[in-house]
Symmetry: C2
C-alpha cells in the first residue's frame, strides 16, 4: 500500500486534462490529498491548497504522487529536481507513468540514501497465485461495459461512496493505475501475466463480512477484441454477485477499432450473464450505468428512460444522478 | 525460431510420461529429431536411435532439446555436465522447464564462450503489440474445450498433418511450451502480459494465402475460471473462421477445480459462437473432437455416435480415427 495522505504533483501540466489522475484523487478521496504542487507554467489546478514540499510535509503528507501525464515519455530535468528534493525531505514517490521511477538511476539512489520507497503502480509488485475458483464470503459488484472507457471506474467509485454514505460496508477495488493511485492500492491487471490474471483478482477481493461489498473496477469489454481476455479474467476471478452494464451511447465504433461497431446493451446482457454464472451461479444484472456526457440534459434523460424501459433495469448516469438507484438495487441481494 | 533438427535429451526420466515433450516431437515432427540422448537409469524411450552428443552433431543436430520434466525443480548436476558438453560441441539448448536455462550462470557463461543460444520457451522473446482487430487474409481454425487438457493441441496437430497429407496449405501455430518445442516456434501465451495476449495471437497468425489454414493451438477453456481470459484472447486475437469443440467425457470436474462441473458441449457451443463472431462474423463450428482414451473402443464409438446425433456435427476421436472428417468439414469454408 502507498502511504497516505499525498501531495499531488501537477508539475508543468499543460492543461486540466493532463492532471486527471490528481483530479480523480481530489474528487474521490479528498482526505488523501493535503495539497497540490505546481511548477511555473502549470496549466492545471485541482482546486486544493498550493503547497511547497516543506509545507506539505508539515501538513502530514507522506507520499508525493505524480498526478499528471508527462510529455514525450521522459521524466524531465525540471521534474527531477523536485522529486529528488522530495525524497530528501522524507516523501515516498508514487507514479503511474509509462516510464518508471525505478528506471531512473538518480531517483533510485536518492530513495536508497533517504530510506524512501518508489511506487510504480503500472508494475505488479506481488507474485499473484493461479485462481482457485473457491467461493469467497462477502459480496462483489462489477461494472462491465459495451466498450472500454465508458465509465466503469466512475460507476464503481460512485457506488462505493453512496454505500459508505449509507453506513454500508464497502470497498472500491482498483484494477488500473488511476484507481490504484486514488485509493493507495490495487492490482494493475493489464500488466499481470496471463496465467495469473484471475488469481490476481481473487487476491484483490478476499473473503469479507457477509454484508460487505467490494466494488471491483472494471476493465476493457467482452466485445473489445484487444482487451476482452482481461475482462474475462475480472469476471471469473471476481465472481461477482452483481453486474452493472456500462455504456456510452454516442460512440461511433469500439475505442481504437474503427471496424468494430458497439454492441447493444441487450447483446452485452445476454453474453455476460452465462459467463459470470460459471463462477457465481447467483450472479444478477442489477442496473445500467450510462455515460451521457456528450448529450444534452434533455436528450440524456430521454435516453435513460428509454433504456430503463427496454432493459427493465434501473438506468442512471452516475455523474448526473449519483449511484443511489444502483445501490438500492444491491440492497436486496 | 529454434534451429532444427534436434537431439532429444531424455536425461534420467523416471518413466515414459516424464518424456512427453520428446514423445510429442517424435510423434508430430519426426523429421525434427535425429536421435535421443538417454542417461544411465533413464526409464523413457521415444523409439528413435540413441546417440552420443558427437554422433548427433555428425547427423546434423543443431539444438539439444530438453524433452523431459526435471525432478524437484532444479537442473541437476548430472544434467549439467551433458548440457555444458553439448554447448561446447556447438549445440544450442532449448527447454520448456519452469526453472530457466538463462538463470543457470554456468550455462549462460558456456553459451557465451561457444557462441550458442539458450531458448527458454516458457518466456516470451518478443515485445508483442496490442491487438488491432484488423481482418487478416487466410483461414484459421481453433479448438476450444469444455475444460483444459482435453486434446486441443492434439486436435490441431492432427488436422494440420491431415491437411498437409492432402496437399493443402496448413501451419500449426503453437501457443504453449510443448507445441513450441515440437515445431520450433510460437507464442507462450500463458506467460504473456495481459494487455498483449490478443496481440500476441495476431502476431502468431499473420496474413496468409487465401487458401492457407492456420491451426492455432487452443489453451484453457471459457469455462475454466483460472484460465478463461487466455482462451478469450485466443478467440479474439485468432479471429477463427472455424471452431472445433473439444471434450473429455469421463472427467468428474474441471481440472484442478473440484467444485466446478464440466459444461455440456451444447453450453460451450452456445457461449463460444457469439464471442467468436465479434472478431469474425463468419465463424462457424465445424466439428467435435472427443478424447476417449479412458473409454473402451465400444463405449467410445457409441459415445461419438451419440454426440454426433445430438450436436449435428462431425464428431471424432482424432487419436483413434484421425482428423479426416474434421478436415472434410473445413474444405467447404
Amino acid at each position: 500500500m502507498i502511504q497516505t495522505p499525498y501531495l499531488l504533483f501537477l508539475g508543468d501540466a499543460p492543461d486540466q486534462l493532463a492532471a486527471k489522475v490528481a483530479q480523480g484523487i481530489k474528487d474521490w478521496r479528498p482526505d488523501n490529498a493535503v495539497g497540490q504542487y505546481r511548477m511555473p507554467g502549470c496549466g492545471a489546478d485541482v482546486g486544493i491548497a498550493d503547497m511547497t514540499l516543506q509545507e506539505a510535509r508539515a501538513a502530514g503528507a507522506k507520499t508525493l504522487v505524480i498526478g499528471v501525464a508527462n510529455r514525450g515519455g521522459v521524466i524531465s530535468v525540471a521534474w527531477k529536481e523536485v522529486l529528488l528534493q522530495a525524497l530528501a525531505l522524507g516523501f515516498d514517490l508514487a507514479s503511474g507513468l509509462h516510464n518508471l521511477l525505478r528506471d531512473e538511476a538518480d531517483l533510485v539512489a536518492a530513495a536508497k540514501t533517504h530510506g524512501r520507497s518508489l511506487f510504480d503502480v503500472r508494475v505488479p509488485s506481488v507474485a499473484y497465485p493461479i485462481a482457485n475458483g473457491v467461493k469467497r464470503t462477502g459480496k462483489r459488484c462489477l461494472a462491465v461495459g459495451t466498450d472500454c472507457s465508458v465509465g466503469k471506474m466512475y460507476t464503481g467509485l460512485a457506488m462505493d461512496i453512496e454505500m459508505r454514505k449509507r453506513g454500508m460496508k464497502s470497498t472500491f477495488r482498483p484494477t488500473g493505475q488511476t484507481g490504484i493511485l486514488i485509493t493507495g492500492g490495487g492490482v494493475p491487471l493489464d500488466a499481470v501475466v496471463a496465467d495469473f490474471m484471475a488469481g490476481a483478482v481473487e487476491y484483490l477481493t478476499p473473503d469479507n463480512d457477509p454484508d460487505h461489498w467490494d466494488h471491483i473496477e472494471g476493465q476493457g469489454s467482452l466485445f473489445h477484441v484487444s482487451y476482452s481476455g482481461v475482462t474475462m479474467a475480472l469476471i471469473h476471478g471476481g465472481q461477482p454477485d452483481a453486474l452493472v452494464l456500462a455504456h456510452e451511447p454516442t460512440r461511433k465504433h469500439m475505442r481504437g477499432l474503427p471496424d468494430y461497431a458497439l454492441p447493444r446493451l441487450e447483446a452485452l446482457r445476454d453474453m455476460v450473464l452465462p459467463i459470470a454464472r460459471i463462477a457465481n451461479p447467483a450472479c444478477q444484472i442489477v442496473g445500467v450505468s450510462v455515460n451521457t456526457q456528450h448529450m444534452s440534459q434533455d436528450a440524456a434523460l430521454a435516453y435513460l428512460a428509454e433504456v430503463e424501459g427496454r432493459m427493465d433495469l434501473p438506468t442512471v448516469d452516475t455523474f448526473r444522478q449519483g449511484a443511489a438507484r444502483l445501490v438500492d438495487a444491491l440492497e436486496g441481494i
